[in-house]
Symmetry: C2
DNA sequence: ACTTGGCACTCTCCTCAGGGGAGTGCCAAG
DNA sequence: CTTGGCACTCCCCTGAGGAGAGTGCCAAGT
């Protein structure tokens, strides 16, 4: 096993093989590489290089007398060192912009729009982790009395994005009181997370010990309830696209793939990891340590509201996927969603 | 082609064939019918009867020397005249009750729960049409000012079920005014649909011509906006279950099936039809006139809130499906959901 | 008139062998 | 280091052959 760097020729050949394999889905042979891309070298020479690349672990053979296909590490090297990210066309970019413009500014609508546009443009499955209450910054908070035990919390961000949630409370709070709490909390808000709001209330309570005590107490309680127990909301769209992939023509494999999407919780774990990372993330096959994802790759990027990362979006496809184009697509979408969530009124 | 009624023996044999086919998925031969269910008759006799049933159009042969499988009309006759609906076990019934109990009374949560429990218990795909604003009866309505052009409408039903929707408005209405409108509308509500509310306002306006004119005007406008342009919200769950069916082991067929689920709008059309009908509806294969449903059957039932039908729930599976059990499952679920939506606080 | 056993026939499905095709590894010469 | 040649391997398609399941029809029995 060699460990030193690849020669330019090896790089070039690896790149060609990966490109060919990604477009055709067939193992690529030395002859076709020679013929199609490197006319000045014979197939025998290519064969030698390919044998080297196999020894390094970047290529493998499905069977003894077939062409080569990239391994997970092969893709990894390609993604890290060989690939250049193309720019999306103006047309595509504006299609994304259209697709994510929520008609009413509801978070749910936005997430569905993102999921939809991602799977439409990629022709693979899309995954979107909904914006998290706790991580987002808000301009206004409202409480609506529902009944003795339940309150609807309505949060509005600077961008105009609206998110709602029902919370349970222990003691009856009438609507006028709720309005006072809303106003109080909203006065503290101003492009700040609920975590921060709670900190500020606690600081004030220690500070002032004034007549607002009870109001503050309840404001603290309600803001805590809003951020606690936030369930992971993940949207998966376009799973049927996966079924069109020739590598999953085998019914048994196809079932495995669908099992991966049924197991949302595992997907959420990977996405949560992406949430903690800056920038685009590509996870290839076995790298994810989730059994069901062995034959799949994930390309995901976090999106922000202001300076805070609030969610993740991406696509899931076969390992044989056009990483460059897909990376550009996901990256661009994440940027546009961030812009939407950060910018002025929707 | 005979048109008169089937003899008891023909009925019995048809029933046996359908049961066998539903459990095994294999064409049923005369020999196995004779052996397994009607020991006192020879296979030759059964063959004659089967030939008759084929002539009537209730059975068909995949190829010249195979057993028989039921046709769409065969299933139809079975469903209408032969089938008896079993009762669900206590255990199953309580599992449904568990599954549909929404922890916070949000309509969305409820719909997801129903979809989930239906696909889990049936092992097929589930479809749920969300409760319609316009058809439901409400106890309380609230408006939350979001910004110049948008208002969040929060509706609460007698059952405690909460539904929200963002609407666009033409002129700025401040929160205090919104609260007055909420109170006014809520005073008219009381187990009544928004349609009815509008009618009552109009009646009053004609009647009194009092100082509330402007308030009424706006109340009318907001209630109209709430019910108009209501988009069809359909949830589809457990589509992967369909992939487990042996009849769709063929990849091409499987793709067709998934295409059916991508085309939500067509499914909605069928479900909307069920909405106008009383009671359980079974639609078998080509009966639906939707191309993609040719190989699928739908078993659906409307659910109510009080006396008003507000939505539809059901399951989609292959034509070879245990109609009796599934009918019981769907019927029971619809009843329980109706009870939940009708009954006291959630 | 209905029921039955017998028989020839049909069609699917499985297996197995054979040949073409694609691609490899290795070697010796340039 | 590169190249052409060559033997070899493995997949995959095809066609033949046989087993299995089931039918339709007929003639005989009740």
């Amino acid at each position: 096993m060699r460990t030193h760097e690849l020669t330019p020729r090896e790089c070039q050949i690896l790149k060609v093989i990966i490109h060919d394999y990604i477009t055709s889905g067939e193992p690529v042979g030395s002859r076709s590489v020679a013929r199609r891309h490197l006319g000045h070298l014979s197939s025998a020479t290519i064969r030698n290089v390919m044998a080297d690349l196999e020894e390094i672990g970047y290529l493998s053979q499905p069977h003894a007398s077939a062409g080569r296909i990239p391994t997970d590490s092969g893709y990894r090297f390609y993604v890290d060192s060989l690939m250049q990210r193309p720019k999306l066309s103006r047309v595509e970019e504006s299609r994304i912009e259209q697709g994510i413009r929520p008609s009413h500014g509801e978070a749910e609508e936005l997430v569905q729009g993102v999921s939809r546009i991602l799977s439409d443009l990629s022709r693979y499955a899309s995954v979107v982790l909904a914006p998290k209450f706790a991580q987002n910054t808000w301009r206004r908070i409202n409480f609506v009395h529902l009944n003795r035990e339940r309150i609807l919390v309505v949060l509005m961000a600077d961008s105009g994005l609206v998110q709602q949630k029902v919370i349970a409370i222990d003691e009856l709070i009438e609507q006028p009181e709720l309005d006072r709490i809303s106003n109080y909390l909203s006065s503290i808000l101003g492009g700040v997370t609920l975590h921060e709001v709670r900190k500020r209330i606690i600081a004030r309570m220690a500070d002032e010990r004034d007549e607002f005590d009870r109001l503050m107490q309840r404001a603290l309680e309600l803001s805590s309830k809003t951020i606690e127990g936030e369930e992971e909301h993940v949207y998966i769209g376009g799973t049927a696209n996966i079924a069109h992939q020739p590598e999953f023509a085998d019914v048994k494999k196809m079932k495995n793939i669908f099992a991966a999407f049924e197991e949302k919780s595992k997907l959420v774990k990977i996405l949560d990891y992406c949430l903690t990372q800056e920038g685009l993330r590509i996870i290839i096959g076995r790298e994810s340590e989730v059994r069901e994802m062995r034959e799949l790759s994930l390309i995901a990027a976090p999106y922000k509201s202001g300076d805070h990362t609030v969610g993740v979006l991406g696509i899931v496809g076969p390992k044989r996927i056009a990483y460059d184009r897909m990376a550009a697509l996901v990256d661009c979408t994440a940027r546009l969603v961030s812009k939407l969530l950060t910018g002025a009124d929707v």
